[in-house]
Amino acid sequence: MSTLATPILNYALLAPILIVLGGALLGVVVEAFVGKVYRAPIQLAIALASVVIAFIQLWRIRGESSTSAAIASVSIDGAGIFMQGTILVLAFIGLLFIADTDNFTAQASAIPGSAEEGASIAAGRQQTEIFPLTLFAISGMMLFPIATDLITLFVALEVLSLPLYLMAGLSRRRRLLSQEAALKYFLLGAFSSAFFLMGAAFLYGYSGSLNLNDIATAVSGSGDNSIFLLIGIAFLSVGLLFKVGAAPFHQWTPDVYQGAPTPITGFMAACTKVAAFGATLRIFYVGLDAAQWSWRPVITGIAMLTMIGGAIAAMAQRDIKRTLAYSSITHAGFLLVGVVALNKSGLSASLFYLVAYGFATLGAFGIITLVRDSAGEVTDLNRWVGLGKRSPVVATAFSFFLLSFGGVPLTAGFIGKFSIFSAAYESGNIAIVVVGVLASAIALFFYLRVVLMLFFAEPKDDVVSVVIPSFFTRIAITICFAMTVVLGVYPSLVLNMTETFGTFLR
């Protein structure tokens, strides 16, 4: 009878994730035992503190690289650390938006519109489970891009997804829509997780290992195009493509983005994308590099479809959150261009793109939370008309984020687009560059249409107004705006980092 060996864990390297998890658990305790008056500020403080401390720890281990931090199930390497850092920074800003608890339902368990709900709002009983849930999601997100075996990947995927399903349903206003979004997200998410797991099983059947490095060895060693390998790759990709919101697995995105509370939408759009692309990049760059003949053409096609499809669909939208949802689909397509580039520039370009996209996304959704009428947020684009006249600063900032999405020079988005396309061109895939350029042109059209509505039309609706942002929201939007400008004018700040950090440990 063999004894079970105690796993050796390198706690220093895992600490960033553990700190966030610890903060989440502490939040649960606070939620249960602290009175309603102090709960919200304490929760916020815990959440922000754990993110900051985790970041400090991450900074201390930034030069490390190891495949044995937790047996062989995670790889600490440059790209992983960079993505964890990006997630933490974006999550910090996301938390500043979430701090405005007015966006969330007072009591999630109450039936929408019931007397119970009314009573809890009247009594000012605001539940704050949103903070620990966010921290749980962050910890999963941080694990996802460094996970190196398929089971750990799956666990991370679930840890990041489950809180998000709940968070999507917590909107204070239009709760039915929010709950519908949550249910939809949950059902489709569960379905895609099943695909992911199935893919993992097939890859295990093919290679006899769950570890990406072993799979890579098996793929390059055998050279035989086993049906197990192909099915495994296909199923695994479906799971990943669902999470990143690539066509044709994007159907959930508009509904969920629209229904979820706007700060959550921003958080989800920015951070989940980093985590999901982190894992996607690692799986394809490290695990399935040698099998590129099988997946690269398919993913290229999906990238093209996603870019063009997202851009065209966005044009037809009348709701700002749905527009941004389709825009995020388009951006998923651009990021997939970085995945299929499959070279070092592709990796660092994707890392930069994620940073640029994350800041602009958080900023844009942050501004949406400010545009309201008496019934809450106004997301109907027609009612945004002429906003530039009444609130020039907010409208300018929003337009700037849109221009960054559109990739206009001197914004961060342009440098992102430039580096992604360069990487794709370098890999010899000129067709995808041409399609990408076309998609950018189409996408620009709807971004500019919104700018046009904001500035060049007379306001029709007097009820809509921009509320005065809370202190935290103001800081968060300012940071997003500053980063979008700085990364557009002086991108070396982050580009140099993505160059140094942009490596996967094999």
């Binding site: 660092s348 006249k389 020039p392 221009l403 206009v408 020079p409 001197l410 342009f414 440098i415 687009k417 430039f418 580096s419 396309f421 360069s422 061109y425 370098e426 000129i430 560059v433 041409v434 350029v437 076309l438 950018s440 042109a441 620009l444 059209f445 500019l448 249409r449 046009l452 500035f455 060049f456 039309a457 002086y490 991108p491 070396s492 580009l495 140099n496 993505t498 160059e499």
Partner: protein, 501 residues
């Protein structure tokens, strides 16, 4: 720090000063903007004085690393062609500010915003001609659309929002094609030992023919939209009709020159083989532009559309001169750019004054202005004569050079081009007759003639047109060495002078 950098920073500094002025201090804001633009003009004068004409290559160069990861530098420099275009910019901006002193008042936003946009635009216009790093050029090329977009959309007339959007979409689409080509060029330079965006280094690359053709097209279409060349011109009339007089001057006088400038600087220099391949097609497009623009100009009822269509015709001439592939044609084309800048400025400014006084831009609403407002009428008349390239005015010299340069290589094209001159006489004189001569139309009797400010504005423009018409040498001396160098690099030698010439 290069004097070019100083030129770029000065208007930015002005923008910053204006940003701190209160919104209501309209007068001070205008004065600050005007003074800054005058200082810029003076500094550019110093630069012109220090420029050693006769030496090809870039002068006043400066290069600093900007985005090290992609070997992108902030690199500026000026050769003869860039120098004259920068001078055109720095001279026109104060004129435009002074001419449209009250233009910004009726806008959607404040006067302050107008002048901040104007000065930012000046920085970018100088930067776009001074950039010797292709990436830097591209960034400015695209970014300068934003201020123009807001200048048209916020301070224009009529369908301004739609016109601004159309302008922006066309230009951005062209820009994206150029971006793809730019990336391609960069990757090729990476593969050939050291990625770079330096224009001089890029021009040494060995690129195979099919690739060159694609890259050439990427750049060329972007520039053809900007220039604008038929059939990429459809955004221009709307934009010119809706923009204020001052914005129109800068748009057609300077910004569109970036298109023709880009053809010389990038298309010909980077892709000489592709240039040869596409020359016949481009010549045909240029001829179509000349004739099409002229014919449509004849039929225009709106005075601003008329000027826009004449410009399409003139840009046809410029493109013809560039792709004639003779140093004479190229010099002529470059000189044409300068002259067109001034003559369009004169036309748009006088037209704007007429429109403002009459409250209508329909040519038929004017009539008999010669009697009521003689100075205004004369100014418009001279501007018109310069548009039809009357001998003695500077545009004649350039049009002549272009046609001679073209004739030595493409005689048939030159003959068709000459038709454009005949048509030009028609559209200018018809417009002059209908608006200035004849009976004074009702509603025009009480029009006021130019005031002192307006006279001060238009005088230097007309003076330049006449002076360069008689004595073009100083400008040609600056342009010639550069255009010879460009032609040599493109591998085109001037056809031997035939006997009897």
């Amino acid at each position: 720090m290069s004097i070019l950098t100083v030129l770029e920073l000065l208007p930015l500094l002005g923008t910053l000063v204006i940003a701190f002025l209160p919104k209501s201090a309209n007068r001070t804001i205008k004065q600050v903007a005007f003074v800054i633009s005058l200082v810029v003009a003076a500094v550019s004068g110093v630069m012109a004085y220090r420029f050693r004409s006769g030496t090809p290559g870039f002068q006043f160069v400066e290069s600093r690393p900007w985005i090290a990861a992609f070997h992108i530098n902030y690199a500026v420099g000026a050769d003869g062609i860039a120098l004259v275009l920068i001078l055109l910019t720095t001279i026109l901006v104060p004129i435009v500010i002074l001419a449209g002193w009250n233009e910004a008042e009726g806008g959607r936003w404040s006067v302050k915003t107008y002048y901040m946009l104007m000065l930012v635009l000046e920085t970018m216009m100088i930067g776009v001609f001074a950039a010797t790093d292709v990436f830097l050029f591209y960034v400015i090329f695209e970014a300068m659309l934003v201020p123009v977009y807001f200048l048209i959309g916020g301070y224009g007339r009529g369908e301004r929002a739609a016109a601004a959007l159309k302008f922006l979409l066309y230009s951005l689409f062209g820009g994206l094609l150029m971006l793809a080509a730019l990336i391609g060029t960069y990757i090729i330079s990476t593969n050939q030992g050291g990625g770079t965006f330096d224009i001089t280094k890029l021009s040494m690359l060995q690129i195979d023919k099919p690739t060159q053709n694609f890259l050439f097209l990427g750049f060329f279409i972007a520039f053809a939209i900007k220039a604008p060349l038929w059939p990429f011109h459809t955004w221009l009339p709307g934009a010119a009709k809706s923009a204020t007089g001052g914005t129109s001057v800068l748009l057609l006088g300077v910004l569109d020159k970036v298109g023709t400038y880009g053809m010389i600087r990038f298309c010909m220099t980077l892709f000489p083989d592709a240039t040869k391949t596409f020359t016949p097609v481009i010549i045909v497009l240029a001829i179509i532009s000349i004739l099409y623009g002229a014919f449509l100009a004849i039929g225009q009822k709106d005075i601003n559309s008329l000027i826009a269509f004449t410009s399409i015709s003139h840009f046809g001439f410029i493109t013809l001169g560039i792709f004639a592939m003779t140093s004479q044609g190229l010099s002529g084309a470059t000189f044409y750019m300068v002259n067109h800048g001034f003559s369009t400025a004169a036309l748009f400014l006088t037209a704007a004054w007429m429109v403002k006084r009459r409250g209508s831009s329909q040519i038929d609403d004017f009539g008999g202005l010669q009697r009521v407002t003689p100075v205004l009428a004369w100014s418009f008349f001279i501007a018109g004569l310069s548009a039809l390239a009357l001998p003695g005015l500077s545009s004649f010299v350039s049009e002549f050079l272009v046609l001679v340069g073209t004739f030595t290589r493409y005689p048939v094209a030159a003959i068709f081009g000459t038709l454009g001159i005949v048509l030009a006489a028609l559209y200018v004189l018809l417009a002059v007759q209908r608006s200035l001569h004849g009976e004074t139309k009702p509603g025009n009797e009480n029009m006021k003639d130019l005031n002192l400010r307006e006279k001060v504005t238009i005088a230097p423009v007309i003076a330049v047109l006449i002076f360069l018409g008689f004595y073009p040498k100083p400008v040609l001396n600056v342009i010639n060495p550069t255009s010879t160098a460009v032609m040599q690099h493109a591998g085109a030698s001037d056809p031997a002078v035939k006997a009897g010439k």
